[in-house]
Amino acid sequence: MIDIDTLTEPIREFLPKQRWYAGGAEIPDAVEIEDSETIRKEWPVLVHAVAAVGKKQVSRYQILIGLRPFGEHAQFLEGVEEGVIGPIESTEGPAYAYDALRDPELSKAFFEHIAPSLEKVEHIRAINTEQSNTSLVFDDRYIMKVYRRLMEGENPDVEITKALWDAGFTSVPEPISDWTFDRTSYAVIRGFLAGGSEGWSLALTSLRDLFGVHGNPSMAGGDFAPEAARLGEMTAEMHSKLKEAFGSREGKAGAWAQSMRDQLARLDHPDIDTAPIADTFAALERVKDAGPAIRVHGDYHLGQVMRTDLGWYVLDFEGEPARSVGERVSSTSPLKDVAGMLRSFQYASHAAMVSHEERLEGLALAWEDRNRQAFLEGYVARAHAAGLVPDAVEDFETVLKAFELDKAVYEVSYEQAYRPDWLDIPLHGIKKLTELTT
């Protein structure tokens, strides 16, 4: 129908305009269509393609290409020029190519292609908040996540969600179907968590209420602590099921400390006093019992958990986007996830002060402390019972603090690169964490 290689050039220009493209705003120096398959042959045509991008460091991206005859109106492309790939000659005459996941008709065709046994779906909507993938919701029953940047090996998101579900952990969306070839995950279909809200939205709701009353957070109507405690309980349950599904080994505090120090060494910010951070990492190295190492979520924060009518759910087991795949699937302390969530509480409490009003800082701090406490209360007893954390309180605190600081150091680099406006948040976090004496 078309000569796919004629699209190489338009795709080269198309990629940097996509949110899921990790290569920045520059047009990539090389693009090669490695593989393509026509999924639907009649108009509108659907072509599945994998593009190898870059000369030195090659990343592979999955692109779903839609084709319609030149001149045919497509309402879904109105106002979204970035969704257009460009004109192309086809054997059926001139046509134009575009991102097929913006086309409800072709999205449905793709859904049916990868899950032919499911009943027909009717309504489709896109989830707009995602960075690295594209997710579509069908009839509020299914969510199809299409991975854009492809990884070598099975995607941990697919692997872990399935393993947890099979282990009887029901706080993940039900895996329904996945599209995996040669151990590479291309797309996955899951039960949609209807009626859910992100933990982040709930936390901000609570903070807005607190900022409105100016009192002790325990007295505020929008108190988040009971939710934070239940979130902690769910987190402990998740870790114990991860341990059950993937096993555990002895935690290596020395290796953890080393990789923390490596990251700290790469940190470049004039206002950070690295000495007390390094002290904490050194203390980590000295702990008697670091607790076990297990598979973890890896990028655990309030945006990765959903509150539904059935309680808390956890999503997105892909790990931190900036880490290598090897790092993402390796085992580490479950306290890494705990640290991630605690850091997220600090992020939320600061983000809620839209213009960083100083008069609210005391409240934000009180909110963070209260919910931090509540989350740990929910987590710790269950985690102890499941043998997930060091037995001794001092060891527990040292390990947790090291992971919190490690996370904050990572955040500083991340915010420097992507969101300089948010840089204050991890800087505050580091200050507070290092001022506390253990």
Binding site: S197, D309, L310
Partner: protein, 567 residues
């Protein structure tokens, strides 16, 4: 378990031809709970009565009330607000006589209103002649009408409900040297429903009142009729069997009359009282109300939406009774342990909510006299699955007097006008059964029916209008119920649908303005028309539908095919 499944909670299955709709009036009715003592004094003795109530039926008709629910009015020593009945077949003299009851029922029916009454089957007063006789000896004709035992070690698995005042479910009867069984106060012995004579006597009283013209009963304390060793003595199969027998009798002789069960249990357990549609017509949805207060306090929907998700479908011809406040406290008792723990975790650390637990408060004081919140609560009450039950006085925003003690704080005289005694009675002030509210905020000089009627923007007028709108759409009583996904946790949105009529309800539980994007693709092409003002809104398309809501505000949109054209 797939959470993604669309939940159609708590809605009655669509009515099919069987049974005529008029007999199912209760499925779409607006109920109004009142106590005769406090409503209107017709004879000037300081206590409300049937004569006075009859005079005020016009007002209730105007408000849009379909059914009046009367708190107990039977002969009673009044040690438990009349729930301790000493004669099922006569009326408390201060309320009038049977002739006054008949007049009242006739007038209500003439105006097209129904009347149901509180009815206690489980126990009587210890002053009831049945008990007076029963306790005399072990071999009198009524000896076996109550539950007697030689020791107090039977049925130990049954919890004590009034733990603060009753040390045991057994009390000593010195005359016959035995213990008698009581699930509530010791002066309220439980009838022995194992005894066929008791079963028949109770049916006889049911027939008596239905013959008189009552349209049904609110059955008090139904889970406790029967006892059985080794159980908690609640919800036993025999209890259900007996209720089915009562229902059969009602259907046979009095079609169109209603049985409303008070079973303060979890919705999943309460549904048993609907049977297969052959037991009670209605049951209260108890956990919903405290959770509405919690959602408002938390400014997020989950307290409400999760209880709705756990509310099972009910048999055809049945209906939930839902309420914001009633004559009881915002109770945490009598629900499951799990729910009590949950509510305590949410409430008990919060001084404001804690203050309100276990005390009887009225709606407006519980809402800090916040009119916006009161409007939101009524919008929820009128649009969630079930028939709404209003509590007298809440329509004018009445307050309470917690210093009157336990149950009387929310039973002060209805405030009719700024005149003497709130226009409730022509008696001397000192003669009133209870003083009317006189504080500067809620006092009758500021808050009364007369003043509210004169003020077109009063809450009373707003409420009357809401009831009117609700009545134009049977879907609020009969329709399916589906919660919509909304990322903003402060917003609770749902669709009600009955046949071709579709209404979208959107509620903002926050005191701050909120935006919400709703995915309404299933209704793409339809045009929302706001129901109170008939204001057309932009047509629904494929994109998420964006709405902004003011503090504690709500929308009811009818989803129509056509937008009204501009002239």
């Amino acid at each position: 378990m797939t959470p993604a499944k669309k939940k159609v909670a708590g809605a009655p299955k669509e009515v099919i031809a069987k049974g005529n709709n008029e007999e199912r009036w209760y499925q779409t009715a607006v109920f109004y709970e009142l106590l005769i003592r406090g409503y209107f004094d017709g004879n000037g003795d300081g206590t409300g009565d049937f004569k006075g109530l009859t005079e005020r039926l016009d007002y209730l008709k105007w408000l849009g009330v379909d059914c009046v629910w009367l708190l107990p009015f039977f002969q009673s020593p009044l040690r438990d607000g009349g729930y301790d009945i000493s004669d099922y077949l006569s009326v408390l003299p201060e309320f009038g006589d049977l002739g006054d009851v008949v007049n009242f029922l006739d007038e209500a029916h003439r105006l097209g209103m129904k009347v149901i009454a509180d009815f206690v089957m489980n126990h009587t007063s210890d002053q009831h002649p049945w008990f007076l006789e029963s306790r005399q000896s072990r071999d009198n004709p009524k000896a076996d009408w109550y539950v007697w035992n030689d020791d107090d070690q039977k049925y130990l698995d049954a919890r004590i409900i009034f733990v603060d005042s009753e040390p045991s479910n057994w009390s000593w009867g010195p005359e016959r040297q035995q213990y008698y069984w009581h699930r509530f106060f010791h002066h309220q012995p439980d009838l022995n429903f194992q005894n066929p004579e008791v079963q028949e006597a109770m049916l006889e009283t049911v027939r008596f009142w239905l013959d008189m013209g009552l349209d049904g009963f609110r059955l008090d304390a139904v889970p406790y009729l029967f006892e059985k060793e080794g159980t908690n003595c609640e919800n036993l199969p025999q209890t259900h069997e007996y209720l089915k027998r009562v229902r059969k009798e009602v259907d046979r002789l009095y079609p169109g009359r209603v049985l409303l069960a008070e079973a303060n249990q979890w919705p999943a357990d309460v549904v048993d009282y609907f049977g297969e549609g052959d037991e009670c017509h209605m049951c209260f949805n108890f956990p919903l109300m405290p959770r509405m207060f919690m959602s408002l306090r938390r400014e997020q929907r989950y307290a409400i939406s999760e209880i709705l998700a756990q509310t099972p479908d009910i048999p055809e011809g049945c209906q939930w009774g839902i309420f914001l406040r009633n004559h009881d406290e915002l109770t945490l008792e009598m629900v499951t342990d799990e729910e009590r723990d949950y509510m305590w975790a949410e409430y008990a650390k919060d001084p404001l909510m804690k203050r309100n637990i276990g005390i009887r408060r009225r709606l407006f004081p519980l809402l800090d006299n916040n009119r916006r919140a009161a409007e939101l609560f009524h919008a929820l009450l009128f649009s969630l699955p079930g028939s709404p039950i209003l509590y007298y006085g809440d329509e004018i925003g009445m307050g309470d007097n917690i210093f009157l003690g336990d149950r009387d704080g929310v039973r002060t005289p209805m405030q009719w006008s700024p005149d003497r005694n709130a226009g409730f009675s022509k008696a001397d002030f000192a003669q009133l059964y209870a003083p009317p509210i006189m504080d500067p905020v809620y006092g009758y000089e500021a808050l009364n029916v007369e003043g509210a009627m004169r003020n077109p923007s009063s809450f009373l007028h707003w409420l009357q209008r809401m009831i009117d709108v609700r009545k134009q759409h049977p879907l609020f009583g009969l329709g399916s119920f589906e919660v919509l996904s909304a990322e903003n946790p402060s917003v609770l949105a749902y669709i009600r649908q009955y046949k071709e009529d579709i209404v979208l309800c959107v509620n903002n539980l926050s005191r701050f303005p909120q935006p919400v994007e709703l995915s309404l693709q299933a209704w793409a092409g339809k045009a929302p028309v706001e129901l109170l003002g008939r204001v057309p809104f932009p047509r629904i398309g494929e994109l998420p539908y964006l709405l902004t809501l003011g503090p504690h505000s709500f929308y009811w949109f009818q989803l129509t095919e056509h937008v009204m054209e501009q002239p």
